[in-house]
Structures are given as structure tokens and as C-alpha cells.
């Protein structure tokens, strides 16, 4: 497919190592070109401006998720039928089976548990003085909360992080990263299917709820296999990304850490600002169901559209001083990092809870983060994250 006339084109591959490391100039160029820009290398229309991205996400009747999420066909086939990649009534039905357990009201009992684990973890790391903000901090809390919550048995957990990363790699264009990821995605799917066959999930968990829904006939066995992975795969790397980015940002901008410590009620806003500034998921696709338009640009039916959250969240048309990190930014809550609308992130309450708990616990004792060397980026087609951020912390005493 080629671009319709009247839509600007962009020739660069935005998924090379260099572009993944330094994406923001590409995103600025895309925003400046127009509300929709044909990506020659990827066969998709980029939507990089805030208003257009929001409009596309809210119009889920025109911009469909089934066959549309990934930038390559094999990945779209693999995920077809999970909540991420389904539409309309099927999507609403599947989301209902599991999402109610992720809503803030259902998570209330978990709040204390997460806060306590965050405090214990922070106390242990602060006592050490130096630690890795990614492997010691960002991995630890989600890994101690999410697998239990989903109900994953102990055996197999050692693969979770590599499987989850592979899932996100597979959603990009079919580059070397996506090719390498495909076998691991298969392993994860096979493991999820095995859990449904054996029923080997923790009692009372989200996974147990999926099996009960299958037993009641609300969903098929195949749907249960998809749902078993639906909320596990996206709930680790994303939160880990946000926590790692947060510590890196507060090390770089110590005055923002002072601000947060002086006014701890800003913590929820600071989490929105981290997600705005370093959006964990850079982009998801959609498929145009009919001939349509985006901000006046004609989009033919069947086109793939790439909504770049990380670009929309830095749009100078929406956010003042978009490249500044400001924990008190008044409209940080408008960030699109969790998506919005029908497919808005179902796990965002849990992600917010984990990240807020860690920042709150850290703000009580840590006065400064110092980088102990250059942070290492983890290269992933979808996730903006660090693999390592070595820090030393200063405390009040």
C-alpha cells in the first residue's frame, strides 16, 4: 500500500537501535509534518499529535484493534482474540471477565500489601546505599505483586520477564528484534495454555477467575488461554519501565525530587508526569475499518494507523514546555501513556499503585539519587526502558 495523496511521508525507519535510543527528534518531525504522516518504512500512518491521537483512540468503531495492534501480520495473528486485539461486544465481554479484578474498588485490599512491600524493599535498598534502580528496585515490586495476583504458579516465573519483553518486541515491525522474539512468544502462549489445561493457578487469583468463567460457559477454553496471558504480559515491563525512568529522572532533576518531598500529595501527579515524559509503551496500531480522515488527512479503509503515545505526550500543541520534567505540571493527568477509551489500560490502577507506593516510600527517606555511571537502555520495539540504572542514595541522617 502507498500513501494517499495530500498526506506527507516520512522516510526514516523509527525502529532502528538509534531511533529507539533517541526517538524524540523523529517524533517532533512527525508532529510537525501533520496530524497523519505516511511511514514509508513501516506501511502505516503515524499519528503523533496529541489531539489526533486522542481522537483515533476514542473512535474505536472506525479504528479497530483486531488485526491492527502490531506492525506485522504474524504478531497480529498470534494475539487475535485477546482483549488487546478484539473489538466491540467481544472486547467488552472479554474485558469484563477479568478487568473487574483490576478496578480500583477491587484493588483496595491490595493497597496495604503493596505499600508494605514497597516500604520493606526501600528500607533494604536504602540500607545498602547503592543499588540498581532497575534490577533491584523496578523489577522487584511488580515481580512480588503481579504473578501472585494473576495466579501464576512458582514454576515458570523465572521466564516471565523475558517472555513479557518478547511479547512487546513482537508488536513492532518484523525486524531482527521481532524475529528473535517470536519463539519466546510461542513458549509463553504454550505455558498459558498449559495452565488452562491443568488448572494450576493460585486460588482466588485473576487466573482462577478466568477458569471459573470458562467453567460457567462465559468464555471458551481457547479464550481462557488468551486471557491467561492478557494481563500478565503487559503488566510487568510497563510498570518496570515507569519505575526505572522515575528514578533516572529524579537523579537528573534533583529539584523535582525536592519538590516532591516537600509536597508528597504530588506523587500521583508525578507518576502521570513520568508516564508522559517517558511513555513506557511508545505506540500501538489500529486498522481503519472504513475510508476516514485524521485531522483532515484522508485515510483509506484497510490502512494501518500507528498511534504514537510517546510523541503525543510531548506535543507542544498540547503541553507547555513539553521536554521539561515537571512533577507539578497541571495537565499531566491528560497524558495518553495508558491509552484512553474502550482499550484504555485495564491495569493502570495497579500500575499507579505500585509506582506511587515506591515513590512515597523513597520520598520519606531518600534526599538525593546519584547516578553511579551511565544508565543502560534496554532496546525493545515497544517499551521505552532502561536495563540498568546504578544509583547511590543519600538519606537525611
Amino acid at each position: 500500500m502507498t500513501a494517499s495523496a495530500a498526506v506527507p511521508t516520512y522516510g526514516a525507519d523509527i525502529y532502528t537501535d538509534e531511533a529507539i535510543l533517541e526517538p524524540y527528534e523523529h517524533y517532533r518531525a512527525l508532529r510537525d509534518l501533520g496530524p497523519a504522516v505516511w511511514l514509508e518504512q513501516h506501511g502505516a500512518y503515524a499519528v503523533a499529535r496529541y489531539a489526533a491521537a486522542r481522537a483515533v483512540l476514542l473512535d474505536s468503531d472506525t479504528f479497530r484493534s483486531a488485526n491492527g495492534i502490531a506492525l506485522n501480520e504474524p504478531a497480529n495473528q498470534v494475539i487475535l482474540g485477546c482483549t488487546l486485539a478484539s473489538d466491540g461486544e467481544l472486547h467488552a465481554h472479554l474485558r469484563k471477565v477479568v478487568a473487574h479484578r483490576l478496578m480500583p474498588r477491587s484493588l483496595r485490599p491490595l493497597r496495604e500489601v503493596v505499600a508494605r512491600r514497597a516500604e520493606e524493599l526501600v528500607a533494604e535498598l536504602v540500607a545498602r546505599g547503592s543499588f540498581d534502580a532497575v534490577t533491584d528496585l523496578a523489577h522487584a515490586l511488580p515481580m512480588s505483586v503481579v504473578p501472585d495476583f494473576i495466579g501464576w504458579p512458582q514454576e515458570g516465573r523465572e521466564h516471565l520477564l523475558e517472555w513479557a519483553s518478547a511479547n512487546f518486541d513482537s508488536f513492532g515491525p518484523m525486524n531482527a528484534r521481532a524475529e528473535r522474539a517470536m519463539p519466546k512468544c510461542g513458549e509463553m502462549a504454550a505455558y498459558g495454555a498449559e495452565l488452562v489445561r491443568t488448572g494450576n493457578v493460585l486460588p482466588g487469583s485473576l487466573g482462577a477467575g478466568v477458569l471459573e468463567a470458562r467453567d460457567r460457559g462465559d468464555i471458551t477454553t481457547e479464550q481462557a488461554m488468551m486471557l491467561m496471558l492478557d494481563y500478565l504480559a503487559p503488566s510487568l515491563d510497563t510498570t518496570i519501565s515507569a519505575i526505572g525512568s522515575a528514578i533516572w529522572l529524579f537523579a537528573r532533576y534533583p529539584e523535582q525530587w525536592d519538590r516532591l518531598r516537600a509536597e508528597p500529595s504530588l506523587v500521583p501527579n508525578a507518576v502521570n508526569e513520568v508516564v508522559r515524559y517517558e511513555s513506557p509503551i511508545r505506540a500501538f496500531g489500529r486498522l481503519a475499518e472504513t475510508d476516514t480522515e485524521i485531522g483532515g488527512a484522508p485515510i483509506p479503509a484497510g490502512s494501518r494507523v500507528l498511534v504514537i503515545y510517546a510523541a503525543a505526550n510531548r506535543d507542544e500543541r498540547k503541553f507547555a514546555r513539553p521536554d521539561e520534567f515537571d512533577v507539578a505540571r497541571p495537565d499531566a493527568v491528560h497524558q495518553l501513556g495508558f491509552g484512553v477509551g474502550e482499550h484504555g489500560c485495564a491495569g493502570q490502577a495497579l500500575a499507579r499503585m505500585e509506582t506511587e507506593s515506591l515513590l512515597t516510600a523513597l520520598a520519606r527517606t531518600v534526599t538525593r539519587f546519584h547516578l553511579d555511571g551511565p544508565p543502560q537502555r534496554a532496546l525493545n520495539n515497544l517499551i521505552r526502558a532502561f536495563g540498568s540504572v546504578p544509583v547511590t542514595v543519600e538519606t537525611e541522617t
Binding site: R105, V340, E342
Partner: protein, 65 residues
């Protein structure tokens, strides 16, 4: 200005109530309550209401045209 709320869509994230407590609240089930459900939002709360509507992560709120 009137605000339309969908209790069906609301997932109880509470961002609207945090941003515009004059206009939105959550009930005991953590479902949105629009204090001006059946009438116009007073002009002095219109700006807050707009902020709350735009912050809803699942688009359960909208401004009636």
C-alpha cells in the same frame, strides 16, 4: 454545559473526582457520581468539569453537545 456520565463504562479510577471534586464524586461502589447529573454545570465549575472529563482514562464522561 451538561455532562453525560456512563456508569456502565466507569471503572472507578477516580481521576475526575480528584481533579474536580466540586463536580464529580465516587459512590460506595467506586462508580462516578455527577453532582450535576440532571442540570447544567454552574459556570464557576465549568473549567474544573472540563478537566475532569478529559482526564477520564476510559472515556466514561463527555460534554453534551
Amino acid at each position: 454545559m451538561r455532562i453525560l456520565t456512563s456508569r456502565e463504562r466507569c471503572e472507578g479510577h477516580g481521576l475526575c473526582a480528584a481533579l474536580a471534586p466540586e463536580v464529580f464524586d465516587l459512590d460506595d461502589e467506586a462508580v462516578v457520581v455527577n453532582r450535576f447529573d440532571d442540570r447544567e454545570v454552574p459556570a464557576e465549575h465549568a473549567e474544573a468539569a472540563r478537566r475532569g472529563v478529559q482526564a477520564c482514562p476510559v472515556a466514561a464522561l463527555r460534554i453534551a453537545d
